[in-house]
Structures are given as structure tokens and as C-alpha cells.
Symmetry: D2
Subunit: 363 residues, 4 copies
């Protein structure tokens, strides 16, 4: 199903950018899990637009209302539904979308797919706003995982060619993950972060936008979670990550760099550490072998394209008249979605991990 | 399910490397589709080991036997099952696997996942040999797609840092795709191919292995195929591609390079071409926008790690005694799996595309 | 997933009887389908409690609010979410449920399943009130089917041993189906209906309840819809019908009576009718052969147990103290749910048929 | 998918009656489960044709060959594939099926569904022979359940109006279940069994056939297994049971008789028994409340229509010429399939129960 991710748990996302509301139904959550709503709101706030030039000028009130599946602060085990009202919508900004296909957007492909009946205002169901309910689901999953010691965090690895330091995916600790998530602008190297901010602001001034890479890590995932072939951790994570608008690539561990390596360089040798656990000295495999967790930190990187909505005039077509035309996309848009995408990547990883963890004996 | 990929069609892969047989069940195929078995065998032969130093010295007889779902040269519409006997297996080569975890393999993670009951000989169900039934399924899907004009082909883009020319994903034609698949060593630039072969042979001499990248393209996919969020073409293709052993990364269109680009560079402007169709001048989006095909060639790249089986001694652990040890992996292994992976990537893409095409009106 | 029915379309039901709201998400609906909201409310009103002694005295405001997937009176093709607020809830009536297991209810089994964390007020997620969102989904599906000429209607066949006339499942017409749905108390034989009403009222006076059977028929389903083995029309309908609380049996065509028949009696002989169509003279097969529609009316019967909530004192256990006890179920309950179950059965059948119809060429 | 049942485990059935082979793939079985192949063959022998007049005169060699997922007598945890060769096929008996639709068979509906490309010999994929791989899967599931104390057995409750004694679904023990399965002709009342056999033989002499009912019970299923709404035990069992050819009805516990009862009669009162467990004095609910097991025996009944293949001449249509015609079905057929259906019903219940049991803590 298009908007239902279904594995041991399911996450069903609904809504359009300028419709009455967006939301999510989570099915098959474990019962009796305490969810701290304040922490959940903090998580979602990381995705919300910021009050500065790196982000959209829209004010989104992303306060989720829970309709079911939650009682006395705990999951009931039956479907948990939450929705977020769409308040601050300026549909007049999008009046000509139905006619002119915005480059880099799904206006053209969506019109074909739904015979022109889909809600095109603000991108409709294709809007990045749909990542808000995904974040809600990921925040719930994340809190359940953290009770079992599993922490997931991400940072901006690169924006428009400017690179942050990479996470050390062998030694990274839970504390470092938590720290990483606290940053206003989520980078490890503050100086690099300042460069990125300056670059984003410059793109904004130039009516342009920039792309980037998010790096994510999960620590304390027990070894033995996942399955071979089509139900590996990579498959599950990928099926969620490619559900985030603007994602163009995904790699685990050493990723595409493995194409430059020898087997003797890439193979991570096993050894028994002082605590008596089997671990590896390096982590080129990104914590996953044969689709199954090795106990090493799970590490991955996700490429995000530059925000397709730019104010610069662009050539495009008038879909009604089948003629060439020029569009100048108005409205308020992020010149770079990467900072706000950081918790979205964490959310996707949390959902995949919780789903596989439900198979873990003594979960 | 671990080894069932299920969408509009399903592909259920079974078998272990050294068990009686490996095979596949395809469910919900359209009825009445003519399958040319000779062409199918040619497709599978591209995955089979070659009689040279770039490939394993094993002789695999990959002749599939069809048990059901196929009559008078055509699909019946009911489940199509085919299997391939495992003949040439030297299990003694793998006697110590159950004890010593081979670095880069799923021996350790698989033992945890299945409590030590899984068949470890030759990697068992984790073996790259399981890509043979995947190729069978992909060959069937490919023939059905080609009847509708949709052609998919791949080549080696990079091996151990040596780069082939990239496919021009705007202008590529069906004829070029077909031509690309004919090559003994599938590269566009023959000179680069020779360099790669020399490098693979060198790795083999050094008891080592090398990784690489496969680039794949599909032409004539009609615009409007796919869905947003979790049922996009990227999600479907990803869920299959990460089912191929040794894959560490996947990117579409411009992929990870989008992290270095401006929106104005990355956006592909639309125009109406001479034939009156809406197309784009560039194809950074890789033929997919919002999870839905744009009508432009679908293009993607897949990173394969170096074959983990190398003859060089490696440090590892004895899982029984929980002690450090050294392993020297014997047996016959490909010093580089990338050449044989080329049709496997095509197979995965064919399966995903056929599945989505079944939603296409007038398929 | 517990509360998601997933086939070509999916229906995800959420909510608890006394929580903030109940609702439904429908995924993969065809785009551009006009839905008449007034007709939809009429359908749902048939399930709503009546203002008489045959039904609960609660006033339920079942006005659904649509959050997504619906624009300008038409489906958009993206997920359609609707919810219904729970207003008239008297939770104090259910205060001792957490302790005393009501016979015939899921209090005991639900407490085990969810470790005591589920919402038990009013039966929580197990409540018959969850059939309201199912009716919403069935009403949407029904309107889409009626555009293609397919009409589904049901009536009360039996209540507490009092039998209505059976539908003639060979000759039944669309007009008869529509007429059947208009009745205040849905029976074919008005006199028998009066007997049933009197019997229900008597049960109510005796602090008791009664069970019954609903018979349902669908006309104009084209021949060739469905699949063998696990994806037949019977399987799909059954998987939905057994999702309705209180259902204890389901039969198609001649049903359990086939156990008394000879093959020569039961087989429905084919002939070519005056219109040149292949039909059968009798319809013991209930319009389905090998899981696939034959073009004859689809006919089925569903058995509903007497409402388990009765005011009579009953023996039960105190689950906290593990001691025997007596319970007197208070609150307002239907002495017979069968009349209100009639549109719920239609809804389930509509959902199954629409889902299979999406495979129909030229749908 | 048509021939894949997918829940916590999946069962994928393939093959046609007169093709090379029929078989099954089971995915996600627990690893390390010992399967006694002799016991498994005994189970399958109960479905095999008998050497007497109550059954078909065909000799079927139903010896399954295992291709994967099984090593050293135990499941490996990866897909278990088994197939059975089709040896004793007389395709000339079915030569005119493609033209004349056999009443009560899927010849007409299957031809429409698959555009005439399906294998019609012997009913093809619609054949009752496909219950052999289902029995294989059910036998595997049953052995795994029996290790946990859960036993399932069935008997013939009724044939052509002649009724066996019913199982006492409150007091039935594991020993009684095992005993029930040993009978050559599976009834509780031997005298009634003789009447049934005489009746079947009479039908055979008259070139006719008879229908019947199978009653099944499962003991020692722990309380708390299953889920509400669409993932209840009834839904799962139903989705499998209606996958058995010739099934026309299914009821749980008191079933359709609940339509004649008062709530005070039908409700099963709870009490704490001497062992300190919560049980019910009666079992009208058939061991399932709200889709979840109560700990009482699970009991159900399945109606089978008379074998549609009868030698008597029957009116039908010539599908090629669209003309009325007469058919005399030749070949060897069971005059009553109910005796052979008994283990098939057990198999379906075993599969459903094992799948739900995998959610049970400490399975």
C-alpha cells in the first residue's frame, strides 16, 4: 500500500499539505509502553521550521492530538492514531500548480498517477509536511527502543559540499548520540556548521536551494536482529528511508566507498573484547551482515536533493495546454531541508528497528 | 517474510547453497505471457561463473526445472515454481565454518538468528547462489516487460576505483541497452574493462578481492507508474536490491552527488518535445519523482562490497570457545562478484517494474 | 495486522469505545470517485441505534469528519481518513469491568492479550462501536461499486428461531436489493418482522438478548473476479466478516445444507440464457466457484450470537482476586444486534468486492 | 496473493493437478524444530486416496521431497520447500474440459480469470490435489505445536444427513484427540460410520456423490492468543479453511445455532477451576472471544459440498461455441471427499494456530 508501511508493526500515514489534517495510525505496538509526551514534542520540534533564514517562514503548529491507542500515558496495544491540524496554509500561493509542473516536484507524475484528482495544494500527499506524522511514529518507536537501551541519532554530514566530521561508528556511545541530538544545528563540528548556515543563507538570497547528506547511527542494537534476503535490516530501513521526500541515495557502513576497496581492507575482523563479547575492530559493514545486526553500531547515510521549490524562474510545461512555459515558484520554502530531515531519518530508523526488535526473544 | 518479496506479484526464494536445490515461486504473474526459455537461459548464463580468473572455478549447472505455472510456452497465471539442483558442492571446504566466523560473512549473525540450526555450508541461505533463482524471476519479468517495450540493462560502472563511462540517462536507447547486455565483460569502455580485468586478476593473485558499482537503466517505462511515500518505485527497487548479498548502497539519478548541488542545478526542467511528450532536458531525478515514473529513463547505481571470501589469513573468533583465532577461507570464490552481479541488478529492477506496471491501465 | 485489512485496498480501523474518537483510513482507493455524503450518512444511519426498544438507548452521533483523501466531492486516490468523535459515553457504567470478566465478552481474553493495558471502558477496541468506521468504509466502497452496477443488500433471515423468507438468489434484481435496504426493520416478510420485534422486546423485558442470522446478496458482479486457494472471494469476505464482533458462522450459497445433498442436487447446471450469457439455473454455489465469481448473485449468511451484555446476574470470576463472583452488566445495550448488523455485513462484502474488482480489466 | 497465505509464517502452495509437480514453501518457521518424517507421512496418508469404494481409484504417490530448510531432522529457520511429483495422471480423461464447463467446478470461472491460459487438466491449480502440499505444511505445523502440548484433531460430523456424535468441546482431552485421528474412517460412533460408508457406496453406484461436515477441535491452546478485528483466530482460520476446495461454510463453537438462543443460554459463564485456572462451564464460544483464545478447546465445523465430479450426465455449456450441451464427467473421483478432508481441516487449523503462537511470549 502506498502510504502504509507494514512489518511487525505498521505505520499508516495520511493527509495532504493543505487538507484539514495530516496524521498516522500505528498498529501492533507493544502494550503498556510509557510514552513521555513532552519528550515526544521535543523530538517533533526538531523537525519543525526554525525561526531563521535556514528554514521556511511558515509557522506550523505540529501539536499532535491522539485519538486512540493511548491511555494513562501508556500504549494500549491497539491502534494508536494521532493527527495534526493544518492551520497555516496559504493555498493562493499554489494556484497555478495544477497547470504548471514545478521542476523537481511530483506535480506532473502525480497528475498522471491520480488522473488529476489528487490534491495539489502545497504538494498534497507528496508534501514534505507528511514527514511530521512519520516523526510522531518514529518518536514513539524511539522511546520504546530507548527503554531497551537502543539509541539512534543523526547529524548533517554534508551540505552543498561542506563536510562535517563523520561519526566514529566503532566507538560511538549512547551519550554521544544523545548529545548530538541536542544541537540547534545538528553537526559535530560547530565551525563547519557555521559555514553550512552561511551557505544556506547565501542560497536563500540567490533564490536557490542546496542539498546534503544526513548520517545516522544506532547504538546497542543487540546482535541477531533481522533476516536474510528481503527482510534484512537494510531492506526495512530502505523501504522507509525512500518514503521520505527528496531522498536520492542510501548507503550503509562504508557504503559506496567499498567500490574502491580490497576485501582485506573492507572485511571487519572479529575478536572477543574484554567484556567477552564478539565485536569487530572496524565497522565497514555498518553493523549489519546478511541483513542481521552484528551488535556493532548501525550506521547509514542518506542523500537529500536540494529543495526543488526555488524562487528563480524555471522553464517548465503547461500541462493543460501542452506548451512550454516559465514558472516562478512562490510561497515560503526551506532553502535547505537537510537540517529538518535529521530527525526524520532517525524516525525512519527507529520504526524499522522497533519492528525487527519485536522478533527478539525477551523483548 | 524473510525470503518472500510481495507486491502486485510475489517472488519467494528458497534453498541453501549446499542443500538439494535452490528455487523460486512467482505468484500472480499475468496469464498467457510467452516466455522464451532460450533467452531466459542466456540471461541466467550472464550470472553463471565464467571460465576465467575473474570468477569462481566452480561449475554450476544452473538449468532451472519448471514445476508449475507454465504450459505450452506461456504463463498460466497460477504460481510458477522453478528450481535448480545443487550438484557441484564441496562441503568439506566449509567444515570449520560452524566454528570460525568468516569476516564479512553472515556466519556469526546467522548463527545468532537461527540458534545455530541454519545450514552453514557454503553460506547456506545467505549464499550469493540464491541470486540464481532471483535471476530466473527477473528474466521472466524482463521478457514480459520487453513485450511492452520496456528494456532494462546494466553495466559495471566501477571496480576498485577504475571507472567505466557512465550511461547517458537522457538519451539512452533501447538498442544501447540491448547492446550493453551482450558484452562478455559488461562495460561501455572496453579499455577500462581491460584495466578492471587486470585488477581483478591481480587481487586474485594476492589472495584478495575487490568491490565495485553497477549502473542500471530502464527505458520506455511509461510516466505515471508508482506511488508516493512507501510504495514508490525507489522503495520497491530498494527492497529488492538490498536483498542481493554484498550490496552496501543504492542511489537514483544524480544520487549522492545531489549533496554538492544547488536546486537550480539539480532540478530537471520540463519541456514538450517534438513528439509532443513532456520530458526533461536533464535527468538528475533518475526518472522518478515522488515515487512515480516521469517517463525519462530510470537510472540507479548499486555498490557491491569486495567478495568477503579471501584466501588471506584473517583474524576472527571461534564462536564455540569464544576465543580469538585465525581463519584462512578455502574453497573457490570470485575475486570480484561485480561482473556476475550485473544481471542480478537488472533482475531486481525488472521484478519491481513489472509489479508496478500491473497497476498501469491497459497493461 | 490486527486492525488493518489489506488487499488491493486497505482498511485500517482505529479507536476505542470510550476514547476520544474512532475512525478509519482507506488506502489505495481509485481516484476521482464521486461520493455522495448524504447517501453515505443514510447508510451509516442504518447501523446507528434506533429510538425504540429493539436497540440501545444510547445516542451516538456518528457524523464522520473527513481529514484527507477527499476533495471537491471526490476521492483523491491518496489515503482517505475519517473519524467519529465519541461523545455520549458513560464510563462509570463500566467501572468494574477491569475486575470482573463479562461472560461472552473479550474482557478476560483482552486482558491477557494486552497485559491489562488495553482500554476496557465499553469494551474498548473490541466494542461493536468499531463497526461504525467499518460501515463508513463499506459505504464508500458500495458507492464506487454501484457506479459499475454492482449492488449489495442484506436482511434479517432469522432472529431467535423466527425466520424471514429467504432471498431468491437466482432471480434477485438490483431493484429488490435497493428496496430491501430501505426497510426500517430489514426483513422481506413484514409479519415475520413483527414477530421478531415482539421477541426482541420480550428478551429486553426479561433482561436477556437474542441472536440471529443476516443474509446478504450482491448482484451484477461480473464473472471472473477472484482467485483460487487463499485469495478467493470467500476467503476475502470471510476475513472481513469475522472482523465483526459476535459473528460465529459464515456460509455461502447453500452453505451447511450441502451436507445433506447429493452432487446431482447440489451442482448448478450451466446454460446459455436468452441474452447469450452463461448462467446457472440454480445457485447453490452462491455465485462463487473456485474462489472466482460466476456472474450469478453472490449470496451468503452470517450468524450473530445474542448480545453478550445482559442485565441478568451471571456467574463469573474476579480476575484480580482469582475468585468466583457474580456480575450484573449495567449500561445501555441492544437486546439484539442483528438489525444494526445488517448494513455492517453489506459493508464488509462491499469492501471485499471493490478490492477484487480493482483487478478487473477496464474497471 | 492467490496461493500464498501470509501471517507470522507463510505458506505458498504451487502446482497443477497434471503438471510436473505440486508443492509448498513455508517461510519464517522457527529454527531447530525436530520433524518426524514418519509421523508426517502418516498424517499425509490420511489424506491419500483409500483402496476402497469411498474414495478415488487413483493411486497417488504423495511422497514429498524436501528441497530446502531442513537439515539433520530439524528446521533450519530458512524457507522449507517440499514438492510431490505428479505420476499417475490420465490427462486423456479431461480432454473436453477446455470446451465443456463441468458443473460445480471452476472450469468456467477459471477460464475467464486466466483468459483460457490456465492448465485445465484435472482442474489444474483448482484441483483438490493441491490439498496435499497444504497437508504437508499442516503436518509440520502440527508437530511443532504438539511439542508445546497443543493437539488438533477432526472427525466426520455428518455425511448426507447421517450424523456422527459431536465432540464434547468442554471436556475433550489430548488423548481423545489422538485417538480420533487413528480411525480408518474418522468418526466417533462406529455404527454411524458404517451407515455413512454404505451411503457413500450407494451414491457411487448411482454415479452420484454426497457432501458432509467436518468437526475439528484443538486442545491446550493457551489463553491470550490472537487479536481483535481482522487478526482474530477466526479470521486466520477462515482465510485458510476457505482455501480448501469445496468448502461452503464455517462456524465456531455453537455456530449458526446461536441464532436460536438467548444471551443467557449462549453466554459461557467463567469460574476458577480446581487447578486455579479461569475456565468456562460451557463452550458455546468455541474457545475464542474477541478473536483471542480463552484457553478452552477451540472448536469449529466446516461444510463440504458433494464432489462436483459425478458420472451422471449433466446439462452444461460449450464455452467455445456458446451453446448448450451435455457432459458426462469421466475419470476417477471420490464419491465423497469428506473423509479425506478431515486431515486437511486439521492442517489448516494447525497453520493458523502456529502462526499466532509465534506471538506468544516464551513460545
Amino acid at each position: 500500500m502506498s502510504s502504509i508501511w507494514s512489518h511487525n508493526i505498521s505505520v499508516s500515514v495520511f493527509g495532504e499539505s493543505h487538507g484539514p489534517a495530516i496524521g498516522v495510525v500505528m498498529d501492533n505496538l507493544p502494550a503498556g509502553e510509557y510514552i513521555d509526551m513532552e519528550k515526544l514534542m521535543e523530538f517533533m520540534a526538531r523537525r519543525a521550521p526554525k525561526k531563521n533564514k535556514t528554514s521556511t517562514q511558515r509557522r506550523e503548529s505540529d501539536m499532535p492530538q491522539i485519538l486512540s491507542g493511548f491511555l494513562n500515558g501508556r500504549t494500549t496495544g491497539t491502534p494508536l492514531c494521532a493527527f495534526i491540524n493544518n492551520n497555516d496554509t496559504h493555498s493562493q500561493d499554489y494556484n497555478n500548480i495544477a497547470r504548471l509542473a514545478r521542476p523537481g516536484h511530483a506535480d506532473y507524475t502525480g497528475a498522471l498517477r491520480y488522473g488529476g484528482f489528487n490534491d495539489v495544494r502545497g504538494g498534497g500527499h507528496f508534501s514534505g509536511r507528511l514527514t511530521a506524522p512519520l516523526c510522531f511514529a518514529g518518536a514513539v518507536a524511539g522511546q520504546i527502543l530507548e527503554k531497551r537501551g537502543i539509541y539512534t541519532g543523526a547529524h548533517i554530514l554534508e551540505i552543498h559540499g561542506i563536510k562535517d566530521d563523520a561519526i566514529d561508528n566503532v566507538s560511538v556511545t549512547r551519550e554521544q548520540v544523545v548529545e548530538m541530538r541536542k544541537a540547534e544545528f545538528p553537526v559535530l563540528n560547530v565551525e563547519k556548521g557555521k559555514e553550512m548556515i552561511a551557505d544556506i543563507e547565501k542560497a536563500f538570497m540567490c533564490q536557490d536551494s542546496v542539498g546534503g547528506i544526513v548520517e545516522c547511527v544506532s547504538v546497542n542494537v543487540p546482535a541477531g536482529i533481522g533476516s536474510p534476503i528481503f527482510d534484512g535490516l537494510e531492506n526495512s530501513i530502505a523501504s522507509l528511508i525512500f518514503g521520505i521526500p527528496a531522498v536520492k541515495g542510501l548507503e550503509f557502513g562504508v557504503g559506496f566507498n567499498c567500490a574502491k576497496m580490497l576485501g582485506s581492507e573492507n572485511n571487519d575482523e572479529f575478536y572477543v573484547n574484554d567484556a567477552g563479547h564478539i565485536v569487530t575492530r572496524t565497522n565497514n559493514h555498518g553493523g549489519i551482515l546478511g541483513g542481521i545486526s552484528s551488535g556493532m553500531p548501525i550506521s547509514l547515510r542518506v542523500a537529500f536533493k536540494p529543495t526543488p521549490s526555488i524562487s528563480k524562474p524555471q522553464h517548465t510545461v503547461d500541462m493543460k495546454n501542452m506548451s512550454n512555459d516559465v514558472i516562478q515558484v512562490k510561497g515560503r520554502h526551506d532553502p535547505c531541508i537537510v537540517p529538518r530531515a535529521v530527525p526524520v531519518v532517525e524516525a525512519a530508523v527507529n520504526i524499522a528497528l522497533l519492528s525487527h526488535m519485536l522478533d527478539y526473544p525477551n523483548f
